[in-house]
Amino acid sequence: MNIRLTKYYYGDIPEENTGGGAGTVTVKDVAGWPLWEVFIRSKQGLDHKHVGSLQAADAQMAIENARDVYTRRSEGISIWVVESKHIHASNPDDAGAFYEPANDKVYRHPTFYDLPEELKHM
């Protein structure tokens, strides 16, 4: 006999159409709101850092929503938003070749230079 053991993890119950009275559902497009990436400066003097993304109709709404979602506990003093489609990224598959030129230039690091111990403050 062939017994197949199926195992489900916490929060990973298999899907099927029995969830609670399946009916006909119409989810209209969310008016085509674009996706925005959110960057937050946590305090004066620090860089803006990527914290997540959200959907919004325009930039102002994106900033207001980002305030409500990402700074409820004073995590930030400045917010940048940029539409996700405007972000261009390097290709992770090319990472090896792309960053390779840095590998053989050890002289860019201060530890490359052998200097006498008595030399101070350098």
Binding site: G11, A22, V27, V51, G52
Partner: protein, 315 residues
Amino acid sequence: MSVQELEKIFQGKVDQEIKIEPKDWMPDAYRKTLVRQISQHAHSEIVGMLPEGNWISRAPSLKRKAILLAKVQDEAGHGLYLYSAVETLGTPRNQTIEDLHSGKAKYSSIFNYPTLTWADIGAIGWLVDGAAILNQVMLCRTSYGPYARAMVRICKEESFHQRQGFEILLVLSKGTPEQKAMCQDAINRWWWPSLMMFGPKDGESTHSDQSMTWKIKRKSNDELRQQFVDMIVEQAKILNVTLPDPALQWNAAKGHYDFGEIDWVEFWNVVKGNGPCNKERLEARRKAWDEGAWVRDAAAAFAEKRAARQAQQVA
């Protein structure tokens, strides 16, 4: 490169604890598992607002109302972080939401139980958020970068959820006989469903399981459940309440508490849609979506108008 080679590189990264990022190559099944799991998690945050939302207008004081409102607002944020993480895997938000509304996608069964008294809000914070936190702390180290980062943010916010719940119960446990009884009754009703939150019992092949190999999960259901029981039994002593399980007792040899068998028939019943509130919860979500349509339309129209006005000013 062949799929086998790509899979080897992928598993190599996972084994070395290098996070997988959205643009990295990943096996289709890994992507599918993540989409299913993260969207279920997102739906749980969203549907999870409903049982507590029931008490926002009924909270016993302005302070409690403000706290509950803040907690429920946090859960909405958690839903958003997780929907965004699903989006990074290439599944559009509308699809994810549609799967919830059609009943295809699951969410945590715990939210299909009703909140009958104010003490239930305490019990949810203490037990339900408590159980969720154990899972989420584990997921902070999950192999998929966006999921892990969402979990770190969520865990930071969750820490007050469990504490406020415990505090509600603590106050009741020191109150009038009626309040004490209300506290005990809520715990009696929420204890077993909370244990069910960790899912079915482990099969025999736990550690060879795919989710473990991919390091999406790092602990089995039973490991997490045991961790939960050990934690809660000690905390219950402070509340001076009992947990509704006669089999609950310290096992010195194991260094853990033994506990009784979960009613798996009830578990699968609720999962399959026959819990006390399944229909009500989905109805509420669909209604909120439909009745919110005009807000979404208005926001889009306003954005369009604003863009046109700005274009005019520039010209």
